[in-house]
Subunit: 521 residues, 2 copies
Amino acid sequence: MNGAEALAHTLVDAGVDVLFANPGTSEMHFVAALDRVAGMRCVLTLFEGVATGAADGYFRIARRPAGTLLHLGPGLANGLANLHNARKAHSGIVNVVGDHATAHLALDAPLTSDLAAVARSMSHWVGTVPAAAEMARMGRAAVAAAQSRPGQVATLILPADKAWSEFDGEAPALGPVGPAALEAVAPDTVEQAAALLREHGASTLLLLGGPAVRGDALQWAGRIAAATGCAVMSELYAECIERGAGRVALPRLPYAVDAAMSILRRFRRIVLVGAAAPVAFFAYPDKPGRLTAPDTEILALARRGNNMEDALRRLCEALDAVYVPYLACELPSPSVLPAETDALNSDTIGALLSTLIPEHAIVVDEAVTTGRGFDAATRNAAPHDWLTIMGGSIGYGLPAAVGAAMAAPDRKVIALEGDGSAMYTLQALWTMAREQLDVTVIVFANRRYQILEGEFSRIGAGVPGKRAAGMLTIGGPDLQWVALAAGHGVPACRAANVAELRKAIRHALASGGPSLIEVLC
Amino acid sequence: MNGAEALAHTLVDAGVDVLFANPGTSEMHFVAALDRVAGMRCVLTLFEGVATGAADGYFRIARRPAGTLLHLGPGLANGLANLHNARKAHSGIVNVVGDHATAHLALDAPLTSDLAAVARSMSHWVGTVPAAAEMARMGRAAVAAAQSRPGQVATLILPADKAWSEFDGEAPALGPVGPAALEAVAPDTVEQAAALLREHGASTLLLLGGPAVRGDALQWAGRIAAATGCAVMSELYAECIERGAGRVALPRLPYAVDAAMSILRRFRRIVLVGAAAPVAFFAYPDKPGRLTAPDTEILALARRGNNMEDALRRLCEALDAVYVPYLACELPSPSVLPAETDALNSDTIGALLSTLIPEHAIVVDEAVTTGRGFDAATRNAAPHDWLTIMGGSIGYGLPAAVGAAMAAPDRKVIALEGDGSAMYTLQALWTMAREQLDVTVIVFANRRYQILEGEFSRIGAGVPGKRAAGMLTIGGPDLQWVALAAGHGVPACRAANVAELRKAIRHALASGGPSLIEVLC
């Protein structure tokens, strides 16, 4: 068997059976091997950032890694921004990146670059296959790295000659590589948190992040809040929040520094569960980076890699809160619904979404400024999962929606996109069309980098002049999203008021395939 | 003055007055400074790969660096693939990349990454501004690095606090930073080449690359060939080739390994001028990496950084060839023209282009497989410049066309694009529309990665199976280029035969602004 076949066998055997691919010549032997090895679902993307973003979205829903297949240093480079987002989301990913044959590297052919340096800049784990016979071992090591907890970005460099070389024997079948074990939180730490909450519940914030915002962990947190009077919130960003009617009411910290500070400074104490001590997204000349007051007492109950569900359950037990009902969200009251002819803005769109998000849907949120109000507005929608942009690098949303839809073909996916953000990786639309993914893309077309207009004013630079204004708006010409979608093979329409948007969303969700709605707002 | 203003002043003063920008919050003080400092032309791009590719194209035509403005590690990461191409083209570029304020880095906010590592992976020069008062010195050093010969990719990291901090004094006005001096070739080397050509002209290839394929250097090379009987050719890729009627007939080495080897092995001796000893683009199991026969005698007359025009002139003098006329291309004979109803393929499109490329035009070539025959077919067109994809990372063409058009607003730019290639950076179309650049984009829509189908067969993998075929074709659904162009604000049409393509190209060239033609081939 050759090295390429060994790697294909190893990945499928280890449990990586979805591959978001954009291969080139140096990966042709691996592509040929995929024809001969059963079990891999190959999804072509037309730009590498779509492949890496899709792998991020896939992990967040499937909780196991997908692979990507990328072409040398520049191909991996195109995928780095979404690997950055995946790193911050602690998503496990196995990148397979072809390289020139080893002897060819010294010849400095056009596509030669320092591939390992490109890989290291955004990967937790980088390995280069030293020989075809080592392919299975290296492939399994890459999957194991991705299956660390928290998950890791693993990049396996596959020199073309190691892919095409034959070796004696074959890849062993050792079965799926499961997630690494989580570390239990020390009893002392749980007791410390219990003592703090018993005594100071009302002045304490239980701040959740990562795996603590879903499943049983979230329910234990809700019971602790109900029993002790502490507040419970989520970090601004979390990779997958379970929310909606019947679930624990869990406000997110806001993006704006002043608003976040004003909330955080209501609390003398913060217990962190999978969350970091809150910091500003960006630094500003006249604002602090840490958002808590200097004298806030901060206790880290559980960090990434800890078993948060177990820690929160034990904390619940220590507090006698195991059977306390948590404060659950209720379905929205019809009285909050906007009128049919209302214009579309953050409030009216949020209210609409609260009634239209289907049960069990996955919402991928890259709505940036238009979406600022959606957290409160949609908290009472039917139960759903909400994915946010963990690394802040825009262009994550459409690819993550591809990955989420691949991970959960039976669920509806809604991608909420700013027009500026959506442009970075719009090629994802084509993959949605090709795979007929059940994704409804809603693009908020305000024709400007609205977030930057806000930042420009916040730094005290006044009204943008001509040159600055040219860099803060994306009009002149306006992007035509209906045409962009059609060009990628995705049906699309426009909505300019509440009635039109309601109709468009209903129609898109009913279609069962990809659709795009351009919202003029 | 604050650091941001000092940097804006310094760049304009040093001669960098075009900035391809995609800024974010950490660059807002610099954006505000650009409002207050006269002389910078700011061109917004919607994706960073467009900015870096445009800077590459700009340098190739203007012969001086443009700047880019990018947003932290992930923003720079999105620009890396076209920086790779720019490196290989030896294009000088000054990247200004904002970073978090220094104190903020320790807080690990979402957009924090190892920016310096990302920068180093594709830059020749990386500097971080240590203080606002050092801004002018660092900015000038970045421009000087870009103005090295060969040109360099210089990346200046601009921490937000250094941009917003005030300092005493202002940025000194020291005037433009010119290109670094070129090194003269040693007299012995010139004499060695002269002796070789005198004795073995007929069995020698004069292989040109880089700056040797244009201007006086090219003419001297043509005279040497005419006087000694040596052959003269260009490397497969060169950053800007002057070609067409009246210019030295200069075939390019072909891409295919066998074809290149069969040409090169006709020669016992090769004299390199700005070229490297020829190697294969990719390695194959059964083919050599070096394309010359092992006993070929190779003499490097001039390397990158040498004064090639001077070396070739002195070689001409040594050979008494200064007044020998060179073999010039003639305008094409009308007899080669295809019939109006002929289908569009590499041959008929090439023949059409040979009559339609306007005098003084700039052709940006990323036509990949469809364009394989264009070299021979268009050699006799009206005189024009031809830009190729130096680093082989597809997605360079549309951005480079943006940069070329910015550098030469009085010239027609024609971008020849494969449909696969064009998708990587299609956002460049919007910048063409916004700046109303005189660019005619011709997309060859064969709906497949045709180059990979060839490579798949070359590795002996036979006929692609279902999984492989899915990764080699980009149909299902077909991309609709007329809609994609319209979505970005660029008028577009389709052409399916010779008459339609001729009419479409004439119409596009006459429009004076951007247009796109989808060629069904």
